[in-house]
Amino acid sequence: MDNRKTILDVKDLQTTFFTDSGEIPAVDHVSFHVKEGEVLGIVGESGCGKSVTSLSIMGLVPNPPGKIVGGEIVFDGQNLIGVSERKMRQVRGNDIAMIFQEPMTSLNPLFTIGNQMVEAILIHEKKWSKKQAQERAIEMLKLVGLARAEDLMKEYPHQLSGGMRQRVMIAMALVCDPKVLIADEPTTALDVTIQAQILKLMKDLNVRLNTAVLLITHDLGVVAETCERVIVMYSGQIIEEAPVKTIFESPKHPYTKGLIQSVPDMRYKKDRLYSIAGNVPIPGSIKKGCRFAARCEFAFDRCLQENPELYETSDVQKTRCFLYDENEVGANDDKAVVES
């Protein structure tokens, strides 16, 4: 059994956007935890709430229109919801750091890399001298595999390639030795050969520094190669949770199954791809029943009426589907079909 300590515990998180056309529950009663040094993946398609979940943890949900309306985010024993902005600023960077999809938009084009790194360090380490901070910055740049670290300190973001910028972002995020690194689609904007470099770097650093990683992605291949445990989100809810091997070997939810089958595999040619009918729902558009019912080939009456809870199908796997409700009469027949 895994006896690592839980470092981040999200309980029943609800983040809602209040717009002119009504309330949109972007994150709808989401609970999960991250253990020390663990790599947890959150996977889902656009609009499933995976990015809003990560922004909620960092306290970066744009308000208005967004607001965390319920739940708890417990980091190292302390609830982060409702703490002062001043305290939150200490948490960000020191305890939890984040990197984003497009590194160019996260770096200031008017300042050198060195300038921005030193600023980040001095904000958190107030007693340090500028020289100390510079040394630390160079050390971090070397750690993420940037060879010309000293020269890079004097260069501007536009002089770097996409992969190098993402390395700089990782160096900056890890500069204060955070316990958790949230990576929101860190390699989506990069080419595959560069993506492979960055993923390898993140795995190495995870092992060397024991930083837990919350990896948010839409790419099932990235999940399979980097994560230990996976959460699948759909329309604001967690619909399945399991260790990475279990997710790919015996996915339970019809959506997870469909998603895995619809990825073209490079190793062999399928005559025809499996495809899930219909469209990804606009968040908040489905008020009643299971969010996936309209696209699900196994949907029955109850699915259109009630929203299923997360049923435990084993010690480590949970799924939000009535087929796995033991009290559901007749579900077993269908379940056999889904699992075949």
């Binding site: 398609e45 560069i194 470099q197 291949g221 399979a224 998603l259």
Partner: protein, 341 residues
Amino acid sequence: MTTKPLLKVKGLKKYFPVKKGLLAKTVGYVKAVDDVSFHVNEGETLGIVGESGCGKSTTGRMLMRLLDPTEGTVEFDGKELTALSSEEMRKTRRDIQMVFQDPYASLNPRHTIERILSEPLLVHGVKSAKERKEKVHQFLEIVGLSAYHAKRYPHQFSGGQRQRIGIARALMTNPKLIIADEPVSALDVSIQAQVLNLMQDLQQEFNLTYIFIAHDLGVVRHISDRVGVMYLGKMVEVAESEALYAKPLHPYTQALLSAVPVPDPNFSKEEVFLEGDMPNPANPPTGCTFHTRCPFKMDICSQVVPQLTELEEGHSVACHLYNETSDNDIKKMEGSLYAKG
């Protein structure tokens, strides 16, 4: 399948001038596409893969003459496209249509779907309004939408539906060849599968020939009969899709295939990591453009440009490792990455 080539490309080049200074003097050229040759057979799908900046989109645009090639010839259905006047080219475009990556940016937000889909018919001389309308309705249904969608505007559709509209627009003029430039990369996985299936169905139904430009190697394998790999403006390997994925010959193709994350945690692959980034195309390395990152680099690589040569039937590669004169380290590499999997 017929093996008659529908499109033959020879020595295609596109150099973009780099201008500097007050008088905008040309100080150099970005060799976006540098001496690319290939052919596409009737009814087949040729996939073109490569990373950003490799020239795959520029190649696609030159085939339609949306960009004029600096050098080289494009022969389509017996006609030499580079020699046509712009009026003749416009007429030829009814046989070559394009599907773009971002379905939102390529549909005019102020026009209804009916107007968007009628436009190609108007341009190519379908005068009767009734006929146009019928055809719009017919093609909306062919791509899986409904006739009532014709009255709506692009913003009322989801990404996947918009791409269906983009495909319908390309089909309106009954083309022979469709050039699809990253048609599914902006879509979610579940929607991507729908659009790929649709494209395969349409190919059968209308006997279409596709050039499918993409960076996703899994998608390209799924849809292509043959695949060409581009690096820094050059075609480095062309082969039947099965052969290319089972036994990649060029070191770049090998690295590219090994870099793609496989959605199977039990699959362990041989990892080939490439050092560094793609060099600047304004100042490409001498000799083989890949030699700066190649794990099998030899002396000759930095001096002589390797030519694309056919090694096995239908499998061509541009690499000095396979020259008879160079020492035979090939054996080491031939144990392919994916043959085992």
